[in-house]
Amino acid sequence: MDGVSLLTITVLAVFVGFEVVSKVSSTLHTPLMSGANAIHGIILVGAIIVAGQAHEPLVLAVALLAVVLATANLVGGFVVTDRMLEMFRGRKPGGGKPAPGPDKQKAGKAAEKEKTR
């Protein structure tokens, strides 16, 4: 691809990047950072290409190291973000108080057990 097209893509991506995170509440800063962190793990694609073209053992070794590191970034990044966000599940504002939920459920299960006995 020629230089001007690449420049166009880059500039547009910069604006999209600015735009998508312009108004985030501080509550979500950490998950957002972590999610963005996972996305740059896509350098894995680059590492795979380089490793796939390696012919000398040393080059292959370095490239495979890059593959391992990039995979750790990509996989670990998405998993850790998911774990953070798991914590937000079911607690939307106005969605009622979920806190007593588990206790009630436990109580309900316990009652069921009593019945089955």
Partner: protein, 457 residues
């Protein structure tokens, strides 16, 4: 053999890029965040499958094996890490991403004959290495493998300038000669720059630096996209670079800091006002029973949780205490400082984990005017975020950071391990005020005792 034509490959890369944009967009709101993250992961899978099907690859078993190794190491760690150690794990993942980008650039140098291409190689090498080394130092600081205070030595600015000059010189050399040896030298210089950049940053500012280094890695990935002629890397890297920059500024604003001030503040000696000396002034310390009486007969209690709570794994006990007080008819809220814990939003995650209802978590702007009506402000393992020095002491490392106005409450109770100053290393004058009571001990132990005493009232 390649199964996909270039057109199909480009379309798949486009799909992956759209997934990444949707992922960032989804992460904007608690409702769509988790879904957004999954969309991002899906995009990554599309991209990896596309590269296997579209490029003539040798060594495929080795590559697949390496991917398996990377996943096998990272996924369980990410699954099992304690919520309190989340920030350093993010720093670590960011660092290895930067390292991978630098290694890719190093290997691609042999294939780039064009001068501009080599400029991109040099940029990736340097920024990737800075990100790797900087993240390693932030990891060490957060894991408390090293001091969390700014590390400065006389002549640091001079050393930094010399190393940067050397790096630029070597970079120019690489562009003109294409020499592998010089490129390795540049990589090493980049590592030194990364270390020197982060060492002088004070502990409280480390999260902002992680975000900045995250943006750096994004830029390194974008540049490696130019080197490899891969549009997806270019787009994804640029997205992260741009959004990371905005996010870094938003985080810094939440703490009342400027990014330049954080990076270069210690160079100018701005942090020296934070003395570690513990003064001998008298404080009023108290028993769990007294605290329980204060809380149990109050009408309105505002709990201010901090990192100490998280470290002691006391968030569940805090939630129970809040519930016990609510049952007695006390109005209880949690006041969340934007940077409570170690990262913006960290405390929300921890308390949500402990099943504290979302509505009880109040953001700083919302709750600050309500401290005046509170009978008791219960500060659990927090210090810097309630330190009035941020408003009164110019030159203090936290000067200018917005704080929670706990001093407005009728009574202030601190649950603290010791009189040791907080993460930023400065004393809190609030602890010597007449309305303040201290209860020493591990946050969880103290909370358990107070909870027991409240139930016995």
């Amino acid at each position: 053999m390649t199964l996909l034509s270039p057109v199909w490959t480009a379309l798949l890369y486009l799909a992956a890029a759209v997934c990444f944009i949707l992922a960032l967009k989804g992460l904007n709101s608690p409702r769509t965040a988790r879904q957004g993250n999954l969309v991002g992961a899906f995009g990554a899978v599309i991209a990896v499958v596309a590269v296997f099907l579209s490029v003539q690859l040798d060594n495929v078993p080795w590559i697949v094996g390496s991917i398996a190794v990377g996943s096998a190491v990272a996924a369980p760690v990410a699954r099992r890490v304690k919520m309190t150690q989340m920030p350093q794990l993010v720093a670590l993942f960011n660092g290895v991403g930067g390292g991978a980008a630098a290694l890719v650039a190093l290997l691609e140098l042999a294939h780039s004959d064009d001068g501009w291409m080599r400029v991109a190689v040099v940029f990736t090498l340097l920024v990737g290495a800075v990100s790797f080394a900087g993240s390693a130092i932030t990891f060490a600081k957060l894991q408390e493998l090293m001091t969390t205070r700014p590390v400065v030595f006389p002549g640091l600015p001079v050393v930094m300038s010399l190393v940067l000059l050397a790096a630029v010189g070597t970079g120019v050399g690489v562009v003109f000669s294409g020499s592998q040896a010089l490129a390795v030298g540049l990589l090493l210089l980049g590592l030194v720059v990364g270390v020197l950049l982060v060492l002088p940053v004070g502990g409280a500012d480390v999260p902002i630096v992680i975000s900045l280094l995250n943006a750096f890695t994004g830029l390194a990935v974008a540049a490696s996209g130019l080197v490899l002629g891969n549009v997806l890397l270019l787009v994804a890297g640029t997205l992260v670079g741009a959004s990371g920059t905005i996010l870094t500024r938003a985080m810094a604003a939440a703490m009342g800091r400027s990014v330049a001030g954080i990076l270069f503040g210690a160079f100018r000696g701005g942090s020296t006002a934070g003395s570690t000396a513990v003064s001998e002034r008298p404080v009023r310390s108290s028993s769990a029973e007294d605290v329980a009486v204060l809380l149990g007969y109050a009408q309105r209690v505002i709990i201010v949780p901090g990192y100490g709570l998280a470290v002691a794994q006391g968030q569940h006990t805090a939630a129970e205490l809040a519930q016990a007080l609510e049952e007695r008819g006390v109005d209880v809220d949690f006041a969340i400082h934007p940077v409570a814990g170690r990262m913006p939003g960290h405390m929300n995650v921890l308390l949500a984990e402990a099943n504290v209802p979302y509505e009880s978590l109040k953001e700083m702007s919302e709750i600050n005017s309500e401290f005046k009506t509170a009978d008791v402000a219960l500060v659990v393992g927090a210090n810097d975020v309630v330190n009035p020095a941020a408003k009164t002491t110019a030159g203090s490392p936290i000067y200018g950071m917005p704080i929670l106005e706990v001093a407005d409450a009728r009574q202030v109770v601190f649950l603290k391990r010791s009189m040791r100053p907080g993460f930023a290393g400065i004393e809190n004058d609030l602890m010597y005020e007449p309305q303040t009571t201290l209860l020493f001990g591990d946050a969880k132990d103290s909370l358990t005792k107070v909870l027991g005493a409240v139930k016995g009232l």
